[in-house]
Amino acid sequence: MRIPGLGETQSIADNGLEGMDHNFLTGNVENLVSWARSRSLWPATFGLACCAIEMMASGTAHYDLARYGMETFRASPRQADLMIVAGRVSQKMAPVLRQVYDQMMEPKWVISMGVCASSGGMFNNYAIVQGVDQIVPVDVYAPGCPPGPETLLHAIFTLHTKIESGELVRRREANGGGAGITIEQRDGQTAGLTIGG
């Protein structure tokens, strides 16, 4: 099975150990580190809505995220590597989300779990942020409303592959992982009719 993004990520690997000649040792250290990172991806507890329930279900006996060393959901963002944005992000929650993301230490990854987080889903309205990638950079999108635990697992594996492929510093700003649209962030104002009071 081929996982998409491999082609893209390899070009970014250059950013990883900048200016360093890759010899046997650094290559292996890099491999070891990315191996460790993919095997020990501690998620932050950031449950929002329906998806949070499925995220928790993934952690329990039937699906057992522990198999990949991911049962240690960290309450403190400082110790977490992965933020699973599980559920719709409201305009009120958006700053909090960003704050939690900022509190996380590099390297950090984001999975946008579910369509509400990815694009607002069916809630195309004033209250919901239409895509969490306006707030934080997203690495993997998991579709579904909510995505079943297997879908989340698949997303996590996609992420593992991205990590293992040597993407040491992971942000890929330049080559545009998204579809290229940015939506203006509304702050308290709707675009159309506004009414005072």
């Binding site: 006996a61 198999r67 895509g131 579709p143 879908t151």
Partner: protein, 226 residues
């Protein structure tokens, strides 16, 4: 403490050591490459997975571009544009065919109202729910990706984890909802053959479990709806 209630719980947890584990060892398809166990839970017949666009047994597309699916979609995640068939080389049996057909899987909530709405059973759902994207454009499926291949099976895109059998179980929800609540229509076939599969069996319905119910199954034409 005297009745040992502090300690009884230890017995419960200890028993678990000898029970079977319930975990299904799904590894996102990774295990298959390395020959490790990689099971997927068997899918329910009615599961709402990613959609497929079906073709008739003669290879014609079923979609007629009527936009019912797009209209009924609560998330407005389907984009359809119809076009007139070329009379010489028609794409679909009718006058029109779906010229553009896109589903944005970052909006789709898998309610499958589109499947219920489709008058020609063109859009049904597969049993695949194991897919994820690394960018937004992958998530917008075009008609080319949604349409079944020449063997009648859904196309298997690189970011999807297909297993045996998941591409053969499409249209479960369509079959389940086709009687539209009228028990007399349960267990009746009323859809055209599909490429690669022919005519699928209907669900058995209540008549399979209750024999003495409401008389015999009506002939399709004799039942008046409403």
């Amino acid at each position: 403490m005297a009745d040992g209630s502090y300690l009884k719980g230890f017995g419960v947890t200890f028993k678990k050591l000898f029970e079977d584990r319930v975990t299904g060892d799904y590894r996102g398809g990774k295990g298959l490459e390395k020959g490790k166990p990689d099971e997927k839970r068997p899918k329910a017949d009615r599961l709402h997975g990613r959609h497929v666009l079906n073709r008739y047994e003669d290879g014609m597309e079923k979609c007629i571009g009527c936009e019912l699916c797009a209209g009924v979609c609560p998330a407005k995640c389907i984009y359809v544009r119809g076009a007139d068939n070329n009379p010489d080389a028609p794409t679909s049996p009718g006058e029109r065919f779906g010229y553009v057909y896109e589903i944005n899987y970052l909006r789709c909530i898998h309610c499958d109202l589109c499947v219920e709405a489709c008058p020609t059973q063109a859009i049904t759902e597969s049993k695949l729910f194991e897919f994820s994207f690394t960018n937004r454009s992958d998530a917008i499926y075009t008609k080319d990706e949604l349409l079944v291949g020449d063997d009648g099976k859904p196309q298997q895109l690189p970011w999807e984890d297909w297993r045996d059998g998941e591409d053969t179980m499409t249209s479960g929800w369509m079959r389940a909802t086709s009687p539209a609540g009228d028990h007399r229509y349960e267990g009746m076939v009323h859809w055209a053959g599909e490429l690669g599969y022919g005519v699928r069996d209907p669900e058995a319905g209540q008549s399979a479990e209750v024999d003495d119910d409401g008389g015999a199954r009506p002939a399709a034409s004799s039942v008046e709806h409403g």
